[in-house]
Amino acid sequence: MAKKEIDGEGLDIPNRIKALPVRRTGPIVAAVIVALFAAMLIQGLVTNERLDWPTVWKYLFNENVLNGVRYTLELTVISMVVAIILSVILAVMRKSINPVLRGVSWFFIWFFRGTPVYTQLVFWGLFSVLVPKLSLGIPFTDVSFWSIDSSVVVTAFNAAWIGLALNEAAYLSEIVRAGLEAVDSGQTEAAEALGMGRTLIMRRIILPQAMRIIIPPTGNETIGMLKSTSLVLAVPFTYELQFATNAIANRLYKPIPLLLVACIWYLFITSVMMVLQARLEKHFGKGFDARPVGTKGKQPPYDPPYPGRSDGEQRDDVAKLNQATFTGLNA
């Protein structure tokens, strides 16, 4: 809806109406007031010396800050990717015909949604203390084929993304489930009637349609995750953006400018994410927003009509009108 189109442009409409728009004073007054406030706000931000913009610019591209941005991005991307994969598995399990799978999924969501992510992160940080060795063997016996120290596998960075991902998966799986359930059951029936199996139907028919519904809240969650990464302090993992800027602030005794540095970066990353989200929505919206001109919102009537509108003679006429198109069938 980027450019404004004139209805019936180029058509010959002799009595085309040319009228002045309605006079509205309210919007103009409101716009002036809002613009005034905005100008005051900007002036305040620029001229307030306590915000210390020179320090902001000085540290915006500081090495430690950039490093923090990198780790924050890495944590966000890795934990979201893992969470999305896990959440789809959980949501599909939740709808499974197997009660054990349903139960496991339910328990996972109950536990990871029901405890604070901060606490979970502390536990993942302590993992190598709680479980010193990871080994592969026969359960409930001493037989072990292979083992490794937990501290090698569950490093601070790994603990951070595992903790974030498991917690996020619990939330996301409910979003995914809502998306799956929103797809009309007729879709499954049509696919079954074509001989498609359950997995194929899920992958080719249901999930692509559910994506449309899943993406906007997942975008929300991703932006939430970006900021949740600051909680990995609990592991403790101390290289992400919030901690990095805070460390500098403590050294300089200047908390405000460094908070602004963090804000600018978070806002920048969020903006990039919003652009990506818009693209994804466009991709998965194909076929849904497509409507021919003039039928916007028109749906076929679903109520069965009163039986017996059929009139033999008339139908034959329609048949003849269309006959040419169907000659291929009779040949």
Binding site: D184, A193, G197, G308, S310, R315, F326
Partner: protein
């Protein structure tokens, strides 16, 4: 060609209940290959349920349905010297469904795919046909229903009649031996009904075995080899298309008076 002595569909004493609701109360019906059977009846008479049973979208509660002489949904196996029924697994069900094409009242096209992709979907992913061949097949089937110009349209860009014709092409692309139509024109604007009936008429002329649940009495009179009137979960009257003009059962008479 299928041999002409084995019925395409044979239903014996079919019962179906949803919870405590007894929908079908012993339906017997035989459909011979190459014939068109039209099932008429008021809403709630169980005619759609019967059609859905044939395609295993519902499970039988009692009785038996054979397609081309093969029992659907179950197989007989021997357990401890006794013959018992066992439910078929997904693969076996899919194999039985492959013989049947189904067209729904609400089209159920895949909205995220174009007309061409809708028709290609099952040949590519179920029959593992290569994409190039499937594209040609799909284009041919769409051409056959008069939509050769609309290959790249999404369902939302098509009229109801066009959508239903895509749905018919989609079913035909799987080369079914029998086509099931569940009120294919009931969701259409009156002026679009004709184009869909036309395709069905042509299919019938080609010798396709068809079972149609419909309210189009004119279509039944013209195309049907067998007309079945269902009410209250049983077959009340069946015969050739001439029974529409001369119904014997009072309930059928009454129904026809309301619809004609």
């Amino acid at each position: 060609m299928a041999d002409t002595t084995t019925p395409a569909i044979r239903a014996i004493g079919v019962h179906k209940a949803f919870g405590s609701l007894h929908v079908l109360k012993g339906v017997d019906l035989t459909v011979m290959p190459g014939t068109v059977t039209v099932i008429l009846g008021p809403s709630g008479s169980g005619k759609s349920t019967f059609l859905r049973l044939i395609n295993q979208l519902e499970t039988l509660t009692g009785g038996e349905i054979d397609v081309n002489g093969e029992m659907i949904g179950y197989k007989t196996v021997e357990r401890r010297g006794k013959q018992v029924l066992q439910t078929l697994n997904d693969k076996e069900v899919a194999a039985q469904r492959a013989k049947l094409g189904m067209v729904f009242q609400r089209f159920n096209l895949f909205p995220h795919m174009t007309a061409l992709e809708n028709v290609m979907e099952a040949p590519v992913h179920v029959k593992h046909m290569n994409k190039h061949e499937a594209r040609e097949l799909a284009a041919m089937e769409l051409n056959r229903v008069g939509l050769g110009e609309r290959l790249d349209y999404y369902p939302a860009q098509l009229s109801g009649g066009q959508q239903q014709r895509v749905a018919i092409a989609r079913a035909l692309a799987m080369k079914p031996e029998i086509m099931l139509f569940d009120e294919p024109t009931s969701a259409l604007d009156p002026e679009l009904v004709g184009e869909v009936l036309n395709v069905m008429r042509s299919l019938a002329k080609e010798g396709m075995t068809m079972v149609c649940v419909t309210h189009e009495i004119g279509f039944a009179r013209e195309v049907a080899d067998q007309v079945v009137f269902m009410d209250g979960g049983v077959v009340v009257e069946k015969g050739g298309p001439e029974i529409i003009a001369n119904p014997t059962e009072p309930r059928f008479k009454d129904f026809l008076q309301h619809v004609l």
